[in-house]
Amino acid sequence: MYAIEAKGLVKQFDGFRAVDGVDLKVPRGSIYGILGPNGAGKTTMLRTLLGIIDPDEGERVLLGSDRPITQSRNVGYLPEERGLYQSMRAVDTIAFMGALRGLSLKDSAEKGRMLLEEAGLGYAADRQIRQLSKGMAQTVQLMGTIVHDPKLIVLDEPFSGLDALNQAKLEKMIRAQASKGVTVIFSTHVIAHAERLCERIAIIAKGRVSFDGLVSEARDRLRPQVHLETETVDGPWRSALPADTKAEGNWWHFTLPTSGVEPLLTALVEGKAGIKSLSIERPGLHDAFVAIAGESVAAEMDEPVAGELL
């Protein structure tokens, strides 16, 4: 079963195709990352999936319904552009967001106080939002996103603007929700977050999804890299090295041959290369991203905004 399914989704503004034929399947209970540079169409895609805006073409099914707004009680959404009523108290803000999702104000306020206590912000429950720091206000909004115990949580660039401590807290919260069986989808332009948290990812650029699957599948698209250090720099063993080998002094870097590492090791030993070190490195998500999305798109990624950590 999928929490979200999209097929041929298109959304255009004034002739610009912000989302250009997106196919997507997000399994229930997974942590799913949507990776792409700024302007790739991540936010528009999420808004379209959630029913905030309607697609021009294509179909979307959210928690089994093709009318996403009918499932809003089961969804928690943290938009990229954070917004709160500045004169509202923290606890009232959470209560209001819970009431929007169908809770009674009383229950929502009680739950809000509990969540704030758990987050160590119980002392700020009765303060107005304008009296809170930016990080605290973001935490309040996050509490408002989960106060109604949603089955699906959608976070648009949730790490943006958070310091290291709050990023770690957010990662912990995401894992905690996922452990309860909640599906968590978040968009990011920082690959490291997706690599740490996600089982599955979608890579999006220029409104198109170029990869949708397990992180391991993305990484498996690239062969592991071998880094070899030898005592000698020449000898008959050199002919055993693959054609794509790059030499740096007595260091040799090359893609692991499809035949595996054993024939190579035999050739190195018999050729008296004198192996000082040998490591086989599985490609990271960044390498996979470069391979899938291209160098130019990858260059736009991982550029943290001021104050943002990888």
């Binding site: 610009f16 912000a18 808004r47």
Partner: protein
Amino acid sequence: MKEIIRAAFVIARRDFTAIIYSKAFIFFLLGPFFPVLVGIAAGSLGGQIAREAAQPVVGLAMTQADSQKLIAARDTLAVNMGDHYFTEMKIVGDPAKDGARNPQDYLKKKEDNLSVVVTGTLARPVVTGTKRSVDRERADIELLAASALNPGALKLPDATADIVAETANNDKQLRTVTAQGGQILVFFLTMLLAGMVLSNLVEEKANKIIEILAASIPMESVFLGKLLAMLGMALLGIAVWTSVALIGIAILGPNLPSYPTPAVGWPVFVGLCFTYFIMAYLMLGALFLGIGAMAATVREVQTISMPVTMAQLINFFFASYALTKTGQPIEVFATVFPFSSPFAMIGRAALEPTLWHHGVAIVGQIFFAILLLRVGVYLFKKNVMKSGSAGRVKDNGKRKLFGLITVKG
């Protein structure tokens, strides 16, 4: 539908609470008193100026005997005609003593403030002055001269007064005054509130809350909730203003002008005015919400709100004009055209006793308000919530104002 209403009340409750606890609400409550105070101040000042301004005087430069007879005739007739009916008179010369003088010499004396000078005799008076002054005074002077020549000959009979409240002859004319009063009241209330709805939604967009709302509940609920909140605030305001007005009436009651009874009677008329106020507000509010939802910036809202306000003023004047054309095609059009319908129907309530017209009009207005709301939601979903490169200024420096008109930067 149930969910739309439930969610609308969540929004309405939040907005209503936020509004009535804000400083702006105090100004909203005081708002209608400012024009009243300014009106009272201006009226009082105008009266003072009028009183202090030198009143024109008719100068008499006839023989002493003729002048005194003329003044005596003025005093006699003033008993019946009222003291202010005739212009004040003053003897400024006597040809027997001063010799024959050019009447224009008297008019040049600033301290006397003469509008005309009367020379000649009672049988053949000569009135000298500007054409306007002479036209105004000549008939009165002729009347007074005739009376002065035959004192006691002109006897005015004492008519007995038999007062009735209304007559069929002038009912319509008088009720038009009532209709206009109702129209003006509803128009100003509507404009005040619709503008506030617009500001509220723009503020929501500036706060960036709108996306959370749009993701959580149907946009219909957001729009409806905001309309209800403002309506609640308006009703609270009306309650306060009515209380103050009742206190004012209790204090000033006998001195206040009375309005002619409307054709449907006062209770029904007040009820219909109230209903049409709600309808006018819902329609204009829904229109403003649609505009506010489509606008990307406060500047865009300011750009469009002025023409919309002007259009609404024209609409109001149109409905006022139609008042005088009851039953004619233009008045029928004013009652059918949604934006002018509430005002035109207030006019009908004042002038015509038929009630079923109002039922039809109110149903039509409700339908149109819902239609406007849905169109606003549709345009919001179609044109708003553009993020990143999609919604911002394009490479060629152009973008679409309200998603409709291409503008630079």
